[in-house]
């Protein structure tokens, strides 16, 4: 990422602030709905920038422990998906269950943190 300022997170916050505080109150119907969806999408990107780095590092550690070898997080995750599909790992393996639950919780923390509050 270039070292220009303001950084991406600040720019995103400024864009969301404009959309939410100035534009949204002037809109009704279709454009109000669509702008709300857009604000939510931008907030998802912001949370991804804030959270994903640490999540991916922890996810990689879990995958290395499950699969028994090194690799990058995406390759390892793809390999795990294939092993599950091939029946090469038991569905009730506790470490597997823990990994899947944690990975879903991580993704929800980015995509829709409210899902835990229902």
């Amino acid at each position: 990422m270039p070292l220009s300022t303001p950084n991406a997170k600040v720019i995103l916050q400024a864009a969301v602030k404009y959309l939410e505080e100035e534009l949204l109150p002037t809109l009704t119907g279709y454009h109000r709905f669509k702008t709300r969806v857009t604000i939510n999408a931008l907030n998802t990107i912001r949370r991804e920038m804030e959270l994903r780095g640490a999540q991916a590092a922890a996810e990689r550690e879990r995958l290395v422990a499950l699969l028994g070898h090194e690799g990058d997080v995406e390759e390892l995750s793809r390999e795990l998906a294939q092993r599950i599909r091939d029946g090469a790992i038991a569905l009730d393996d506790p470490a597997l269950r823990t990994h899947i639950r944690q990975s879903l919780a991580d993704a929800l923390a980015i995509n829709n943190p409210k899902w835990f509050d229902r």
């Binding site: 899947i100 879903l104 995509n111």
Partner: protein, 335 residues
Amino acid sequence: MSTDDFARNLRVAVARHIGAPGTIHDLQQLTGGANRTTWSFDADVGGPRQRLIMQLSVAVPDDVPHPLAEISPHPTAEEGARLMMAAAKAGVPAPRVRAILETPDGLGPGYITDRVDGETLAPKILREAAFGPARAKMTQQAGEILARIHRIPLAEVPYLHGQTAAEMIDAQRKVVDFYGLHLPAIEWGLRWASDNVPKNARHTVVHGDFRIGNLIVGENDGIRLVLDWEIGQASDPMQDLGWLCVKTWRFGGKLPVGGFGRREDLFAAYEKASGHSVDPAHVRFWEAFGSVKWAAGCLRLGMRGIEEMGIERCAIGRRIEEPLWDFYELLEGRD
């Protein structure tokens, strides 16, 4: 087609199928989807003015058939209308079909039904005090209506596509493969589903999308009408009971049946009306697999967001973990 041509064709079609003169009032487009549009209007056909709804299928250019089109086969507009007629005959509150459009009508494939007032929005039905009497009735009504749907003779609707649980799992697997998604959580769900396909399933007419959103509800009388027969199929009837309990379709409501009722009440009403006993574990399979199926649906809709650059579709794509989370919660007994 110009707006004038459309209005004239509609008047002629109404006059021909329902009654002259066919004068149209208050024509409004209610929804416009990629696959179909819905219109509301009133018409003079001799006697009292008729309150009508028209569904039109949008002609899809057939030079680029979508590679996943065959994965969940839909009845055509005419077949959908005939399914609703068979359902009404079986005592189901299905839209009353007034006309099935034909080529000379010049409107494309579609049909016209009576229009019924009521609410379809989940937040109102599930949370507004005015709908309290409806909520108290809906679980029993759902059980009875589903029993009637499952009694429609398959011979009356021979065009319905049959899909067993195993075929449906296979279809979701094809969606995942087509988009090259390698997500351990969905692979786990698909393998769980394959390992747990219920034995001894009956094979009946299945609505396929029976839930709030597709029901017209009255404040005091509950379920007035069952809409959206567009994925009607021949399958395991317990699919409909399970789908109604999928957490996504509870729309934040606390109770497991559609956000408004208890499973044991749904099952009791269904058993009484159908004469078939309900195995809760069998329904639970369909509830759990329903979440996996909806996760694959999020993938499919979300990838269309990338193809079409649509922000709403993109947002749906990012919802894939919601039903998967619910799936694991259900398997661990938290629902």
